[in-house]
């Protein structure tokens, strides 16, 4: 049962509601004031010869996009001030140093067609780290597989079996494969909660690429114990293990600027923070009672299962009266970054759909206002791209229009004075400069904060500024490419296209072939726009060049940034402390990977089935997984026929679906395994 049925019951002795309210008034007040002021100025500066409709349309677009930048700017500034003041994150009660931990926590690792050895290597590294502490025995790991690829499924089981041998005493490692991945990750977690959740007081939800040090996991559980009204504590993950230029750039920006943004969010969100779906600890009973997600009426993309479940779960748990905290001070929480622009965009496609689906929840009953802000922020992170795209399109459109249809200075006959169209160029430039300052200033604060701390592990101040300039140059060039991607995603989603559920690529780079295939249209848009602007809106040509150039260079930008550049050294660009002194858990995870990978060097299902023990392990685990999904009688007959007609040595002529069925049919599998030898 929740400890409180409404928000009003909570008394937070360490941080008064009034203070939090004042913080929010300051942040949103400044954001709104600045946005209103800039919008009024923009209204004054806009060309006078456009229609009233166009005037208001551009004004609304400007208001929304500028407001978005403004919120980011002020949030970061307050975050910076918080960091400089070295304030302890207020409100949450910190446990005593000698506090005992008696509650059990399940560490959930959902996996969907991921590299089984890499996932298990990380799990083993976390378990080893937890094993160093006496409290480590209060944690159990659950690998919750939703993998649909039968070969990966089998590999996961082999990895489970091999990793279990090395697990520290007292920490359990369980593996469960879900026959049907209903509702994707949220369904996966829900399945755990309804079957085993009640054995645990807390669950620490991870992603397949997550890593958290043992000390932090214990600290998170102790924080939950010390704060019985808290439902979620989010430990902001930091990107690590980046290899490609693209991933290292994001790793650098996350490390240098990210903490300011996090501190800013924590400053005004306080106990109404969000949940990002991983690297967070959740009170199981609160989650069970309040986070059963409904299925929306209608078809995907807006109907069906809720995709970006994390924001919704945070809103629901908050609606039920539990508190949600995001604590940037929880260090040692890591994740990885997609290695290339295309993988980033592929992930964005899913997130974009999930966030747009939130429009329905945004205006639903009894949702906390701050949760509505979270939804709005999520929606705007994608919608702002389309708005920006429209703003550019209409801005250029007006100038091109004027080329073909010059202004009529004398609209009536015998008019004494001409009606001059007025466009305040310098005013517009000033607004543009202001927008750029608001975009870049938080990043500058990030660099200054690191320099101020005297941290030498970034390669020195020179390397930091070098990283800052290269990061901004790349961001400026890639932003129009991502804008086009995201605008396309929104159009696709609005026209009813579902994103599906693809496995995330975490290692491979982009080939030139893929680069051309995926980016040709952006290059074409860039070239087309440049030609159009050069010929018909020449005055804008150089102003638009950073945008059109980025589009034209989309292919090389995407391909080259997905590569690994430069040798590992403390002096290379984008160096972060975790690269100079790699934390133990990262080193151990790499060591474990090398060791575990040996067991599945031949990743083929056939090769694994040659090992009797692995077959037995698979059959042992089948009982846990639940009933076999419906494969259809045709497929079953086909597999039975194929296997029974084998003469020995196995056969690779089975489709993935057929192999999947085979893994469910124990007798057939055993026969097949014998024939594989």
């Amino acid at each position: 049962m929740p400890l409180a049925a409404s928000n009003e019951v909570f008394v937070i002795p360490l941080l008064s509601r009034r203070r939090v309210k004042f913080r929010r008034i300051k942040l949103f007040g400044l954001t709104l004031l600045t946005t209103f002021w800039a919008s009024v100025k923009w209204s004054e500066f806009m060309p006078t010869d456009i229609s009233l409709f166009m005037h208001w349309f551009l004004l609304i677009l400007f208001f929304l996009t500028f407001g978005w930048i403004s919120l980011y700017f002020f949030s970061a500034v307050f975050g910076f001030l918080e960091l400089v003041r070295k304030r302890h994150y207020e409100g949450i009660k910190h446990p005593a140093k000698d506090a005992e931990l008696n509650a059990k926590t399940a560490i959930l690792v959902p996996s969907y067609n991921e590299d089984a050895a890499a996932v298990m290597a990380r799990v083993l590294a976390m378990a080893e780290d937890l094993g160093k502490y006496s409290e480590g025995k209060q944690f159990d790991f659950f690998i919750l597989s939703d993998s649909t690829n039968p070969e990966i499924w089998l590999q996961e089981e082999v990895m489970w079996f091999e990793a279990k041998k090395q697990f520290p005493q007292g920490i359990n490692l369980y593996y469960r494969h879900r026959p049907r991945n209903t509702a994707r990750k949220s369904g996966n977690i829900e399945d755990f909660c309804t079957r085993w959740g009640s054995n645990y007081k807390y669950m620490l939800v991870l992603d397949a690429d997550s890593l958290i040090i043992g000390k932090t996991m214990i600290q998170m559980a102790k924080l939950m114990e010390a704060n019985p009204t808290t439902g979620i504590i989010q430990a902001p993950p930091q990107i690590v293990n980046a290899q490609s230029f693209f991933a290292r750039l994001h790793q650098f920006s996350g490390k240098v600027y990210g903490r300011i943004v996090m501190a800013g969010q924590s400053y005004w969100q306080a106990w109404d923070s969000n949940y990002w779906g991983h690297n967070a600890i959740i009170r199981v009973q609160a989650f069970i009672d309040s986070c059963g997600l409904p299925v929306f009426k209608g078809k995907a993309p807006f109907g069906g299962y809720i995709l970006s479940h994390d924001f919704v779960e945070a809103a629901l748990i908050r609606r039920a009266g539990w508190l949600a905290w995001m604590l940037p001070e929880l260090e040692g929480s890591y994740e990885e970054c997609p290695p290339s622009m295309l993988d980033f965009a592929s992930r964005d496609r899913r997130w974009c759909q999930g966030n747009l689906q939130h429009i329905r929840i945004l205006i639903s009953r009894k949702i906390h206002p701050v949760s509505r802000v979270h939804f709005t922020v999520g929606i705007m992170s994608y919608l702002s791209s389309l708005l920006w795209c429209l703003l550019l399109l209409f801005g250029v459109g007006i100038v091109v229009w004027r080329y073909f249809f010059p202004p009529a200075y004398f609209t009536q006959s015998k008019e004494l004075f001409p009606s001059w169209p007025i466009f305040n160029v310098w005013g517009t430039i000033a607004l543009f400069v202001l927008s750029m300052v608001m975009l870049f200033f938080p990043k500058i604060l990030g660099v200054l904060y690191v320099i101020g701390k005297g941290d030498k592990q970034y390669g020195g101040a020179g390397k930091l500024w070098q990283g800052f300039f290269v990061e901004n140059l790349f961001s400026a060039l890639s932003a129009p490419v991502m804008m086009l991607f995201q605008s396309k995603f929104i159009v696709e989603i609005l026209s009813g296209m579902d994103s599906g559920w693809k496995t995330q690529n975490r290692t491979a780079g982009t080939s030139w072939r893929d680069g051309i295939r995926m980016h040709w249209w952006q290059t074409a848009v860039g070239v087309g726009a440049s030609v159009l602007i050069y010929n018909y809106a020449h005055t804008l040509f150089y102003w638009m060049l950073p945008i059109t150039l980025g589009m034209m260079l989309a292919i090389p930008l995407s391909v080259l940034s997905s590569r690994v550049w430069g040798k590992k050294s403390k002096q290379r660009i984008f160096t972060i402390p975790e690269e100079v002194h790699e934390p133990d858990i990262l080193q151990n995870s790499k060591r474990n990977f090398k060791q575990l990978e040996q067991f599945i060097t031949d990743k083929d299902m056939l090769a694994l089935l040659k090992n009797d023990i692995y077959v037995s392990v698979h059959i042992y685990l089948l009982a846990i997984n639940g009933p076999m999904p419906d494969f259809g009688s045709d497929l079953i007959k086909r597999v039975q026929h194929k296997v029974s007609s084998l003469s020995g040595g196995g056969d690779e002529n089975l489709s993935l679906d057929e192999k999947r069925y085979l893994l469910y049919d124990e007798k057939l599998l055993q026969g097949y395994a014998v024939l594989c030898k």
Binding site: R195, W196, S198, C291, P294, R365, D612, I619, V674
Partner: protein, 150 residues
């Protein structure tokens, strides 16, 4: 091909019971190529199982939980399913009594996956507002907050 039984605890017991009728030549399987190469005697086999496999997959403390006879039975049950290892005729199946079997069953229940505690997650209602009424509601709240009685 030898009929292969399962590793699941309940099925293992069933398979064990049914295996009582298997003739005395029935022996434990070739556990794996590695075991087949290394194991030369019963003691070696037990050690191999204990150290290499069972201690990890099913961490049995044979000296604490199971008697040697029970452990032997367990080993036999678990690996009965494999191809027969003709050179070893080491298990006297009949020596395992019903009583030992029950104890064995109890012991094996520990190796099950964590027991399920089934609960239901109630589906939450998310009722969509009319955006206009939502706006009015916030407006009303704002006015009450600003001008209402404290």
């Amino acid at each position: 091909m030898v009929a292969i039984k399962l590793y699941q605890p309940e099925d293992l017991i069933k398979s064990y019971v049914s295996s009582w009728h298997i003739d005395s030549a029935t022996t434990i399987s070739a556990l794996s190529d590695e075991a087949a190469k290394d194991v030369k005697s019963l003691d070696e086999l037990l050690d191999w199982l204990d150290n290499y496999l069972l201690s990890r997959l099913m961490p049995i403390k044979k000296d604490k939980i199971l008697s040697d006879g029970q452990f032997l039975a367990l080993v036999k049950v678990v690996y009965l399913q494999h191809e027969l290892y003709q050179d070893f005729n080491i298990f006297d199946i009949a020596a395992v009594t019903e009583d030992k079997l029950i104890k064995l069953q109890e012991a094996m229940s520990e190796y099950k996956f964590l027991p399920e505690k089934k609960v239901v997650m109630p589906e939450q209602k998310i009722k969509v507002y009319n955006p206009f009424s939502l706006f009015l509601q916030y407006l009303k709240k704002g006015f009450r907050h600003a001008f209402g009685r404290k």
